[in-house]
């Protein structure tokens, strides 16, 4: 069964190019949308496995759409495609529930690979994003929720090592490395939810 993908981008040229690449590779593009509103309207009927999402789209923006999708359909994966790679936005999207992030200039092969990996639940991190995530964990916690191994793996991703290289260095399987990165992402998103919950309680938003 081919992977069902939804492409959300406000640039028609780009949307068409990505759509063609995905279809040529045998993936099933079930919907496209030009902005956040369209995306949220078409998303329930399209039921994609992966949403390929540009961060800079007309309101509601990529981060808001990511959060809404994570809320409505946790099994759907969001892969962020960003042209400018603005750090705070990318980190916000990942915290809101995105599984991966890719710069738009990535090659077709990289894009297809990323879509397939994200569909399988594998986080796709760039070294830059791993650095941001590390910083996020190291900033305000004297006691990081990450295990030593997870921190080690995340550091290696931030240093530009591929999962294969990390597996070789640590003498573990590729799958183990993937699990560590997955756990890291889960903890980051949980961390985010804890923050949100604390915020809600502090501001009295938890009362119905």
């Amino acid at each position: 069964m081919s992977i069902r993908v939804m492409v959300v981008d406000d640039h028609p040229l780009w949307r068409e190019a990505v759509e063609r690449d995905l279809s040529d590779a045998g993936l099933d593009v079930v919907a496209t949308a030009a902005d956040g509103r369209e995306a949220m309207a078409r998303f329930p009927a399209a039921r994609p496995d992966v949403v390929l999402l540009d961060l800079q789209i007309p309101e509601p923006d990529g981060v808001a759409v990511t959060a809404a999708i994570a809320e409505q359909s946790p099994e759907t994966r969001v892969l962020i495609l960003s042209a400018s790679g603005e750090q705070t936005d990318v980190l916000a999207a990942v915290k809101a529930g995105a599984t991966g992030y890719l710069v738009k200039s990535a090659s077709r092969e990289d894009l297809l690979d990323a879509v397939r990996r994200v569909a399988a639940g594998d986080p796709v991190f760039t070294p830059g994003l791993a650095g941001l995530v590390l910083g996020e964990f190291q900033r305000d916690t004297e006691q990081t929720p990450l295990t030593e191994r997870e921190t080690e793996v995340l550091k290696m991703v931030a240093k530009g090592l591929s999962y294969r290289q990390i597996a070789d260095r640590l003498v573990v399987s590729h799958r183990t490395v993937q699990n560590h990165v997955q756990n890291t992402l889960r903890k980051l998103q949980m961390h985010n939810r804890v923050e949100l919950t604390r915020y809600a309680i502090e501001h009295g938003l938890d009362e119905e």
Binding site: H11, S84, E86, Q87, L91, K155
Partner: protein, 385 residues
């Protein structure tokens, strides 16, 4: 709208200045009521001493009516005309001059009494220190001129009128000017934010197209591939520029943002720099030495691995230290090469990096092998020179 707004900023009566004046006139309305009640009360109490009680009553009635009229007039900026303010001062002056007639030549307190401060302060608020000074001099002169003998307290009151007018006027002008400046600063900040937002949208569009050209070019090959390569270069350049702009955060004097400094290296080397995403403030000397050490490592990658060989820098910031890693995917440094170089008296990159980091009280460790070469630099913060 734009030109109209600019014009208003330059004139003293900007919307912010008018708002300040409105507030001051509202406060003055309260003061006017208080001094009116005071004058009316005292006049009733001393009614028996009046030489011409009927004329006195008419004058008091005029004061009551005029206080209501002028208070109402001054609530609206457009009703604060020279006519109204002129009439205000003229009435105060007229009542002062009528004092000997109403109260007898040997009067001690003038007929309007403190009521005249209403007119004085109107002039101060509206015409600034110049208006306050003019009104103060006129009122003081009128008060003193008709007294048969000037008592110490009369002189004191007159003196207060002359100095209070310009002081209140000066303060009114200053507050109005500050409000105008703040309004202009707020507008400038809003314009800058809007410009940044627009720039972001424009940049994003350009980046999209460059990324697309790069991608398609690569697939088409031939001349198109060259176009794609150029587009890719420009795309990276623009993205670095935007990142550098985003990371431009004000830092304390004598410190630098190490994250921004290192990210700047992406412009000159084929390096990917990962940072915590927030400014990493370190003393300027630490920043300078660390950037130089990283540059030495990257130069070494160029020489020993290849001019376009990729490298990665990771910066981690902790409360007490910074940790830096510089890594490449090259063949590693052959065993014995470093010792050999040292024996030949070439200290080279190793000594340079170690020396710089040691001077900062930190440590530098080198790992090398078939997987590549990696430097780990740890520099404590706080105890650094």
């Amino acid at each position: 709208m734009g030109s109209a707004t600019l014009r208003l900023v330059r004139t003293p009566h900007s919307p912010a200045a008018v708002a300040v004046e409105n507030r001051l006139f509202r406060a003055l309305a309260v003061l006017r009521t208080i001094v009116l009640l005071n004058t009316v009360g005292l006049s009733i109490y001393h009614a028996d001493d009046f030489a011409r009680p009927v004329l006195g009553a008419v004058c008091i009635a005029a004061m009551v009516v005029w206080t209501a009229v002028v208070t109402w007039s001054c609530t609206e900026p457009r009703r604060r005309t020279p006519t109204v303010l002129g009439a205000d001062l003229a009435l105060a002056l007229g009542l002062l001059l009528l004092s000997p007639l109403v109260k007898g030549d040997d009067f001690t307190s003038s007929l309007p009494g403190f009521w005249i401060v209403g007119a004085l302060l109107s002039w101060s608020i509206h015409y600034r220190w110049q208006g306050g000074l003019a009104a103060g001099v006129v009122l003081a002169t009128a008060d003193l001129a008709q007294r048969q003998d000037v008592a110490q307290s009369d002189y004191g009151n007159a003196f207060l009128l002359v100095i209070a007018g310009p002081i209140v006027g000066f303060m009114s002008g200053s507050v109005q000017q500050m409000a105008t400046e703040r309004e202009a600063a707020e507008r400038t900040a809003a314009v800058a934010a809007e410009r940044a937002r627009l720039a972001r949208a424009v940049h994003d569009g350009v980046l999209q197209v460059l990324a697309l050209v790069q991608r398609r070019g690569r697939e088409l090959g031939g001349d198109a591939a060259e176009l794609g390569r150029l587009a890719g270069e420009q795309e990276r350049e623009l993205r670095r520029l935007i990142r550098a702009q985003d990371e431009f955060a004000p830092v304390a004097a004598g410190t630098v943002d190490l994250a921004a400094e290192l990210t700047g290296l992406e412009r000159r080397y084929a390096v990917t720099v990962s940072t915590p995403g927030t400014p990493v403030e370190v003393p300027a000397v630490v920043g300078r030495e660390l950037v130089a050490a990283v540059q030495a490592c990257l130069d070494n990658v160029r020489v020993h691995v290849g001019p376009d060989a990729p490298a990665w820098v990771l910066l981690q910031a902790f409360a007490d230290r910074v940790e830096l890693s510089v890594r490449d995917d090259g063949p590693g440094i052959a065993p014995g090469r470093l010792e050999e170089a040292a024996a030949q008296g070439r200290l080279g990159v190793t000594a340079s990096v170690r020396g710089r980091v040691a001077d900062l009280g930190g440590t530098a460790e080198l790992t090398t092998g078939s997987f590549g070469t990696e430097w780990e630099l740890v520099v404590p913060l706080g105890s650094a020179p």
